[in-house]
Homo-oligomer: 443 residues x 4
Amino acid sequence: LDALFRDPEMVAIFSPDATVRRMLKFEAALARAEARAGVIPVTAATAIVTACETVTFDAGELFRDAVSSGTPVIPLVRLITEHAANDATAFVHMGTTSQDTIDTAIVLLMRDGINLLVASLGKISIEAARLARDHRHTLMAGRTLLQQAVPITFGLKAARWLHTTIHLNQKLITLRTETLAIQFGGAAGTLAALGAKGPEVATLLAEELDLPEPLLPWHAERERIAEVATTMGIVAGSMAKIAADLTLLQQSEIAEISPGSDSSRGGSSAIPQKRNPVDATLTTAAARLAIGDVTAILNSMAHAHERAPGEWQAEWEAIANLFSHTASAVNHVQTAIKNLVVNDSNMRTNLNSSGGIVMAESISTALAEKIGRQDAFRLTQEIVQTAVSEGIGFRDAFESNPRASLLLTTSEINRAFNPAAYLGSTDVFIDRVLANFDALKDQ
Amino acid sequence: LDALFRDPEMVAIFSPDATVRRMLKFEAALARAEARAGVIPVTAATAIVTACETVTFDAGELFRDAVSSGTPVIPLVRLITEHAANDATAFVHMGTTSQDTIDTAIVLLMRDGINLLVASLGKISIEAARLARDHRHTLMAGRTLLQQAVPITFGLKAARWLHTTIHLNQKLITLRTETLAIQFGGAAGTLAALGAKGPEVATLLAEELDLPEPLLPWHAERERIAEVATTMGIVAGSMAKIAADLTLLQQSEIAEISPGSDSSRGGSSAIPQKRNPVDATLTTAAARLAIGDVTAILNSMAHAHERAPGEWQAEWEAIANLFSHTASAVNHVQTAIKNLVVNDSNMRTNLNSSGGIVMAESISTALAEKIGRQDAFRLTQEIVQTAVSEGIGFRDAFESNPRASLLLTTSEINRAFNPAAYLGSTDVFIDRVLANFDALKDQ
Amino acid sequence: LDALFRDPEMVAIFSPDATVRRMLKFEAALARAEARAGVIPVTAATAIVTACETVTFDAGELFRDAVSSGTPVIPLVRLITEHAANDATAFVHMGTTSQDTIDTAIVLLMRDGINLLVASLGKISIEAARLARDHRHTLMAGRTLLQQAVPITFGLKAARWLHTTIHLNQKLITLRTETLAIQFGGAAGTLAALGAKGPEVATLLAEELDLPEPLLPWHAERERIAEVATTMGIVAGSMAKIAADLTLLQQSEIAEISPGSDSSRGGSSAIPQKRNPVDATLTTAAARLAIGDVTAILNSMAHAHERAPGEWQAEWEAIANLFSHTASAVNHVQTAIKNLVVNDSNMRTNLNSSGGIVMAESISTALAEKIGRQDAFRLTQEIVQTAVSEGIGFRDAFESNPRASLLLTTSEINRAFNPAAYLGSTDVFIDRVLANFDALKDQ
Amino acid sequence: LDALFRDPEMVAIFSPDATVRRMLKFEAALARAEARAGVIPVTAATAIVTACETVTFDAGELFRDAVSSGTPVIPLVRLITEHAANDATAFVHMGTTSQDTIDTAIVLLMRDGINLLVASLGKISIEAARLARDHRHTLMAGRTLLQQAVPITFGLKAARWLHTTIHLNQKLITLRTETLAIQFGGAAGTLAALGAKGPEVATLLAEELDLPEPLLPWHAERERIAEVATTMGIVAGSMAKIAADLTLLQQSEIAEISPGSDSSRGGSSAIPQKRNPVDATLTTAAARLAIGDVTAILNSMAHAHERAPGEWQAEWEAIANLFSHTASAVNHVQTAIKNLVVNDSNMRTNLNSSGGIVMAESISTALAEKIGRQDAFRLTQEIVQTAVSEGIGFRDAFESNPRASLLLTTSEINRAFNPAAYLGSTDVFIDRVLANFDALKDQ
């Protein structure tokens, strides 16, 4: 089922194979750092690096071996040691511990994962910017609690999606530069096995891996992991919001968007006419799964003492799932938005569907200039009531209302019933977000 | 990482391959039912059944194909149709819809999954019953809020584990017989494509699959799924409780149990002496992951109209994950309990570690018969205070207390300080649970 | 904000005051049971019972006092003791512990809470049964993934709501009779302070409180609590499903239901014409809150040893919140359904909105009898395509299709385009659920 | 129960009364901004501001009134209008909508809430810094998976707590300055009722409330809320980590800390000697509750269109609960750490409890210099095995090992068995965190 709710590229980044490769990368970088610090011989480091780069392994077998110790690092170190030249074997995994290897490997995976997400969200931004520009004037109903409220434009909706993706990307970039850092503390966070050389090795290790060095090891303090995890949850939740909009706009009776020209998408096994909102559907599903993973991680933050019996290990799978599900949500939104066809005539029809009732606030505002806001609000409600109870259009009801119709001139009435004239700051808002997008692109 | 937090047998039950096989089983059973009801020709049914039983498929490819429609049933029906004899092709998937196929397939998978769990929990029951019997008299400290309270026996603790597993198995069996049922409603729950034959086909389909027939289709009412999911969460949570006990008992300074004779288990990559509580650790991790999955399912219960765009699809992966994680938790507990070595002398040492202070309630109870409960409680607290502040044993403090020591005879004192004499209903409780276990075994 | 998302009656059941009253009820029942078992003097029991029944207290103060010990039972026992006649003071809270008092009090509260929920769900059942009966033939579109699929009736939708509430009530009743039980174990689950009298007192205590007696104390095994909690989550989730339907049906452009005649409900602070789906909205909100509480409880099941430092205490508030939120969801659904006005003409209009395209499966089924199912499916898709691309009605497209129009007679065509003739087992399903409802009512 | 799991100061900040006050603050600020922009008369603004500042209200009643419309803003606006001078009534709540009022009010509450949390976490920092300094050299066992690993110092553990609180506070401050912003969009995010004046009013409103102005309204894009909510969850989870440490260190058999001199804290209703870890217990409970609230918010991010029917409203209570629970967790940790008594002799005793076995890595490291790391690891394991199987101390086993004892000189042996000589970078790490703390204090 992976194909449906997990992004294949992200699954590849967090695959067992890739995870082992990142652990090997840590061990190699550590050997290099220790050689540079004079802790181990340069020749040993070279041999270990070679072993880490050339060793072949079966990741599945390695994780099955891990069941007996609870950590894949033990069979992995054995593997490197078997593979390394003789005089290097004594220096493999020197001064470190399973958690250093695994946490730092996961940090490296998360960095790759964040980079992939940033790129994917960037693609949504481009599409959303296009829609915001192209549909700046495409009128549609604004809907609150799924009731028509006042007119907006589809471009404004797209501008809001754009703003979300820009915002999320800025968060992700901050996360990548400020939250990700090496974990390196040895058996219980003191680097005791390295004597006085600990801090120097740590600095060099961070340099080798191009990651920041934290003030002290964070093995049992999981804020970093939780920050990444909850940010994924927020990305997924934001995608679910866009998916909700898309699904609702594509309802048979609303039909303001359609899923695009690729007619093979969205078919049904029973119903000939169906065009299901497949990408929005898969987004919603992937987002729910992602948020379940976040729950697991937040509830696993209470790491006992210097390493938790269970709360730590739960992260390994939860983080991999979380990135894969979040990336799937992002990619399905991107596909949906890229292919989406805007049915502007349906938008216009729906906007007018209740005989102009969506212009009630506009009318009320126009009347307010003549008779005050409260009186205007009440008068408007009365007209709405008439329209509803007599089953006539709101404009008809307005025009047949003896008091109201006299308060406004024909041109005022025309203007008050013109959705395009009641868009307030829509253009300003679209411009601001597009300008922000352009400014960031130029950086 | 699957090996660590997912039970391989359960992973096999919910594998993409097995999932497709269950969907094929549904389609075959449906063909048979429709033939029996006279809806399709018998020869067509035979051909479809043969096709379903002999068709070869690549489940991965099938699910990748499913991305464009959002459902694996479309490519699957195409596959069956291509594979079936010519005159049968018109009758494949007749009168039904994707959701019928998938929901019923998942019900079949869940039935297998529940059966596996019942067997695994049954194994824990056997081990827990053995421990309850063998350690009925093995004294240890009862601990509340991780403070020593009064003596209990290890047999009582095991009897509580036993009671939990018996209770969970009864819940699972009820679930299997009462909650699981076919889903069969056609395009939107009316079975319209079957005309008047819908109910008859439904009854025969249920018979073919040996599953109950519900009063009406449950496509958008997910109580059944949520009941199974939350029960999994409760099983996982109960395993986490046992794992917490095991982890705490195995602490270096407590050492009341050890993880057993298989010395390859629980080693460390850095620390020569480490014997980690590997199985309890993996239980805790798997349980956290399982409960995250439950969250996803409960938050996906609001299925819109006749089929949800996203909330339904999220279940597919969440259910598979949930069963695999829960089974992993169960199996790790079983391994842990089976191999566990009880260090009864350490239990006894810890019980006595604070110089008998764990017998304070016993002393207070003995004194109460002489001077009333409140006075006795206060006097005991005073003696406790003396013991703590003077750093002497509680019994020494008692004996040096001029008032208290005169209130009880030597034999009363000996009795009051004897943990084995202060076990209350321990034996009764153990007997009851063992009798319950034996009674259920005989059924 | 309580008024919006918490049911006031349920809030009253779980109020601090009522909670303290239930703890007093436990202490009184225990005194009676102990007197009957000869553990304490009858006069002492009488005095304690009187004290428990007449003592006045400030629940807020009592819980503030509880902060220093972590349990409200300590100040409560002090209060009873101060209030009881002199010779009874020694026997207050005899042989028991905080957890017995609190857990059993919560069980009593949950019993009341379940009774209230059963009554509230029963009211929904009555309304849903009425709707199922009255709208058995009210045609509307069945919608999957928010796309029109095939016709159903509003009565069928209501029958499904009815079935859900019946099912939930049966679950709640089972819970009340099978899961709720006294908790009585003393300091660490051995009832040691009662010597050999423990089991007898336990049996009498259960009798006094009219609750089952479990095989052994369940203090650290929280399956019971988790079963109640998850059932609440399932009730809440099921209400969210009904709320989703209501919200979607009430969309401005769909308008198949309206929230009823009470025009003060659902107004907007800005928009004169708004009639918001207030009750459905509050249901959805309350359900989300309820499910968050369930998460807290499932993640708190790993109770260490004989009493958990934190996981247990978290339940106290989570359970109270959960019942209040769930009851709010139930009551808002009840209000919504009771007041709901069915706009059957809109249902019919929407059903016909795409020029009969919702009858495509029906046409395909009719054609299949002439040219086989696959060919019919393809031909129907071709006609759908024509209708969509030429922007004409599906029936027009059908009639202009040279091949299709010749395959069916006029009366076959009329029948195939008649939604009322394409309802399959709708009536059977409605009848079954109504019969089930009537049968249960008669019990 | 509020007293136990909710911080009273935070409860006051988010009380119904305070919430209404913040809504009034928004309405007053809006009137001022609109007057400054020339949208409403200055006299009207003055009258509205006065009304908002002087109106008396019953918050409970107001929220009960809100049930019929789903929003407290309708009765609130009615109240202000009734209270305002006649010619101002027309200008109350002008150009805005419920969501603007409520979202901005919640932002103001969250700002206060964050300020309170920053102060509370700052107090933990001070205590943790004191402990880090005072116990820089206080030896104790580092424990991984609850097994003794290598020596650390209590100061290092406290330094890690310090680092966490510093880190969390920096996150909170960023949140306060970057994430919190006014919400102001009118009926559906266009500010249409203000014509061209929307942006100007928005800027002035932001100024009046001393909050940033976002690029565009964020009514249906809930990243901001989710960021605050998840940060609360991370704070709560971090507190749960400290609580876990405290609870484990205070176990009867470990007794490395005690809860301090206030002997009234932590008593038991049954057990005379009990000193329960009350504050750590309440922290754990409050954190679980907080994280449940986060779940509710993350699962409510998919806001439909321009305002969600349910997902939005769920936030109101969830946010208030979340802040109260999180603050409770923080305050209980602060109380616990402030009062905590360090039993350094018990730390030393436990460190030596297994006859020096915690020094195995140290010995192995010392031996490695003579015979290489692998051989040394194996030799050390052999000695550990001897110690365990013969039940003798590790040092005795070392000294009786014919090979090992010859490899090291007496002074090398003494050094290798000296925990204080095997602390690696402990001092460096403590210094770094203390320096970081001092640097931030000086800002």
